[in-house]
Symmetry: C2
Subunit: 361 residues, 2 copies
Amino acid sequence: MSKPKLFSPGPINVTASTYEAMSAPMIGHRGKDFEELYADIQPKLQTVAKTTQPVYISTSSAWGVMEASIRNLVQKKVLNLCCGAFSDKWYDVAQRCGKNAEKIQAEWGQPIDPELVRAKLAEGGFDTVTLVHNETSTGVMNPLEEIIAVVKSFDDVLIVVDTVSSFSAVSVETEKLGIDCLLAGVQKALALPPGITIFSLSPAAVERTQSTPDRGYYFDFMEFVNNGAKNNTPSTPPITLIYGLQHKLNEILAEGLENRYARHEELNQMVTEWALKYGFEIFSPEGFRSKTLVTIANNLDIDVSLLVKTLREKHNFLINGGYGKVKGSTFRISNMGDETVETITELLDALDDVMPSIIAK
Amino acid sequence: MSKPKLFSPGPINVTASTYEAMSAPMIGHRGKDFEELYADIQPKLQTVAKTTQPVYISTSSAWGVMEASIRNLVQKKVLNLCCGAFSDKWYDVAQRCGKNAEKIQAEWGQPIDPELVRAKLAEGGFDTVTLVHNETSTGVMNPLEEIIAVVKSFDDVLIVVDTVSSFSAVSVETEKLGIDCLLAGVQKALALPPGITIFSLSPAAVERTQSTPDRGYYFDFMEFVNNGAKNNTPSTPPITLIYGLQHKLNEILAEGLENRYARHEELNQMVTEWALKYGFEIFSPEGFRSKTLVTIANNLDIDVSLLVKTLREKHNFLINGGYGKVKGSTFRISNMGDETVETITELLDALDDVMPSIIAK
């Protein structure tokens, strides 16, 4: 079976021009050639991440940096804000790192309630909070500003924000909001192949790190700080992916961030309207919905796996049939990356083509 | 300045056909397409690694798995066998993971003496030994069989072997020798871009892991074991690099392992003879020399950085001017990957062209 075009929420379709950029000649990572590459993308990353602090590149998937944020920043106790597969797992990972951890658990499909965060932090003893901005498993986009405002009303509590599937598609004011550790994947809204994770640290996060014991080596934030100052990475970087990152950052800045945000919002709305047209409900409440994917509730009780299969076989498009415990009771369509009104229209037309046979079952 | 062809010891030159293989359509990593890719390369990896045990793929540089071997396997005390930049650093990393660690320190350029290992292990209390097979910083290839035989004469001591820069170029009988954790980079002898590390575990290593506390999540070996059994990886894999790995494994098996070993030996000998012709000495003693690079001692006291610079400017080839504390007093030429008699001859001719001006200084 030929490989389908991906409309699943990451990894997503990678363009030919990105692959071409990635195929530039290999360079050594401990010399001037790499330093120049690193220095070239640094201000571009800062622009997209909306921070004047350095943005680091980890040779790992996002989970590496999610674990690192726990290892480096948590000294007393972490509060994990859980509302889906990835945010829930962060609580598990915190415990596996041997840290004291508590959680607030929202029902899947619902956002985190800032007032519950306030009440929990008021109990005292916490020094770190983790938040997944855009919970890819449920399509919930959490109220970032409200939650951070609550966290910031407590002294010496750092806020870690996972923007794995929202980075560059939705405005996140890293520095203005006071995010202490922002992390993002590249195989989601950036439309790169997976393999690196980018992250930024506030001065308070760097200060905290320095007094945290048992940071290990590979994910020690101080290694990133010290090597980053020399335009380098602690461990061997995946050079092809960094070439790809350079290419995508150039494209993003040429498009303009505001245009990019507006494009994602428009495409997201198109998918939402398609779902509503059939009588589907959206899994998350209005005002708390992702702009990079739509998680559709299967209130019509269709055979979701048949929909996914038929769409792939007939049109070679791949959507996702729901994640984890909401597999089948939801399905997900991504509008991340380089999609346009045209390509999303193509997808929705294909879905319209197969839907009658699915609904008839 | 245009990018030079790399004859530095990793990353090295990546062929156009590898980049082409890496540019195959992106696939989701939690579906059949990825499982098929994983299942296809698994027996090929086992053939090259010479083991019937699974071979895992880590989304990290080699240091990730080097740290992981410490975190997962060391319960009592680790003995780090140190003879160059990378093996020395492993001792540092072990301590940073909060483990009891001792080391045997050989002088840079010298191999590890198996009898010193025997004497140290006889003191008791050790449960793990780390060894860098091919120390890339000094060009030393350690006496693998002799050292492992010593380790195996002690009960319940696991041996971890880093074959970062020898994997696929030199025969390593992982299972026959009883290597408990074999790890390898891909940007060295495999001639892929950096970004993944492959490793294999013996049943004893898996058993040890299960009773080791504080393994964390990202580098928990049990995550690799459990996901590997389902033809998958714990975290999002760098799919383009795995496409590239599949391509290189196909090439390696088409070449034939014995032919590949012989090719590397022949090319290595060509570079060695070139150095001896000028009156240079080889940094490591005969019988303990890498087959994938030649580390040349600068006994002629040439200006090594001028040699590197002139060769790059005049011929667009990049060799390496020595690593860490032997920078300038040694220099390194790689014969890893896809080099042939023709391409190494081109390099040596280019070196011959610039050497008179360097010696005259």
